[in-house]
Amino acid sequence: MSGMNEQEAQLVEWLADMREEEAHELANRMLLEEGADPLRVLELCRMAMDVVGKRFEEGEYFLPELVLAGEMLETIGAVAKPLIVQGEGGAAAKLGRVLIGTVHGDLHDIGKNIVSFMLDINGFEVKDIGIDVPVKTFIDEINEFKPDVVGLSGFLTLAFDSMKETIAAFEKEGMRDRFKIMIGGGQIDETVRAYTGADAFGVNAVEAVNLCRGWTGAAA
């Protein structure tokens, strides 16, 4: 990406600093009044999200900033995307495919949604198949989506057994070695990872991104 002009740098800074109103006003002005390239504006958003991710990793930002950043990105995306001329640019190559869902019996989704968002803005193609996902649905979705990584989420202690059962079913289907499995959620730790047979666990969204990067060979 080439260097940024002053206005572009301002947008990245305001997004990264959570100055929502100023960022939205500037993005709207660039897109709707000044005819800025929508792909360039989205690229600037992605650059701002890199800063947000870094600040999260460094312990300066926490969940509220990830959530607000997600919302700012969505709002600007809603303005920018309809302005993209068909055939222009083309979708950027994705780093890998991640299928993610909350295991059966568990209805929690806040953590899963944040992980999906962080993977998405970090260049992964994410398919989120929701909450309380039956084993068979995971298998069907895997066969169709062919992910590099499968993320199993769960907040309740009952999720330990649901995860174990889901991973055992992957083994039985003969598909276990086709992808890596990461687990995460409220009570997940190394003991649960070993119990379920997952490849790794993560305690936050940045760890999930780093795991996926490591597995897909993507540079951090």
């Binding site: 509220p64 209805l107 009570q187």
Partner: protein, 424 residues
Amino acid sequence: MSEMIGPYEQTAEAKAAYDARWQRLLSLARLEQPDRMPVGLHSFFWPANYGGITYKELMYDYDKAKQVTLDAAIELEPDGVYPLLLGSTIGRMLEKFDFKQLQWPGHGVGDMQPFQYLDREYMKAEEYDDFLFDPTGFYLHKYLPRVLGVFEGFDKLPRFAGMHYLRTMYGMRPFALPEVRASFDRIVAAAEETNTLFAHHLDWVQRLRAAGFPLANGTVATSPYDIIADYFRGATGMMKDLYRHKDKLKLVLGKMSTIVTRITIENARLAGHPIVFIPIHWAPDAFMSPKQFEEFWWPPFRKMLMGMIEADLIPMPMWESDCTKRLEVIKDIPAGKCIYWFERTDLVKAYEVLGDRVALRGNLSPSLLTTGTPEEVDAAVKHLVDNIWNKGGCMMLDGAFGIPDETPVDNVRAMFNAARKYAG
């Protein structure tokens, strides 16, 4: 000499055991190490697995629920028992009120699944002003109809504030509306179910007491921030409010702090028990920055703790997840007045920081209790005893958040046996 606890006889031996357990809890809170390390029995659905009934039965069948929870208490001999019926046997009450914030067996989840909370926006961001202007009016017209189906007609209720003279009567016409009358009928029927639940709870408490076991806490409260985050704005709504509506949010939190403190003092007095259990959801290290914690979360909660302490109550917050980075901040309370229960915070580390300020409770990990062996549970208890109790620390042993539903009975037995083996 035996005594009667309601209709139940309490032998002299049971009375002595009850008194010893009760004193153990009170001296612990005062930071005086009791004769032995107390152990708590706290759970939601584990007693169903213990007693061989379904989760749905535990939620709906008062008699079976009383039996399995009493059997568990009598076998394990805890020093304090959570009011288990009020925590779990709520199915009929939820149904009668048409409660919208949970899914439970028969209502969205299966017979062997626990109830689960539905994180939604129950108050919109633009309603902060309504709440601040008139919280009771907001409850009557907006909040209660949203969370309890039986209150659906209440959105038609008149606005009371401002009524005067003949308008106090003219204004009452909405009470004659069919939907308002229907709401009242349903509310009365639902309230009768709550009365039934409380009658069973009191019966259970008397039987428990006759057998020698006190409650670990008489009532439950929630922190102001958690009430607004969980039950009003929803998780993501609240996180955005930290930026978008910070001033109004602080006003609401301040108001909620006073309201909850008053209700909690009243409830604790009715329950005749000073210990108040306060499960805490939004304090963990990962959920907000230290600055946000000190700006939004802690001040209204500290005010609430101080109000409770001034009323001679013993707050027992249960700090969910990992709160290591909060320890220095939450230390700012008078010594010997609270029991801090930690879920994933290293209890030994908590003891190092808070040992001279509060008693501790916890915290065998859920993964250990559900997937480990009795020997591993024994070793984990010994670790806590060696590093806290044997150093003069005041701690009550428990699971990280009580006994997880799926815990094998032998692991629970191992936890209680190890406490006796290593700490009296």
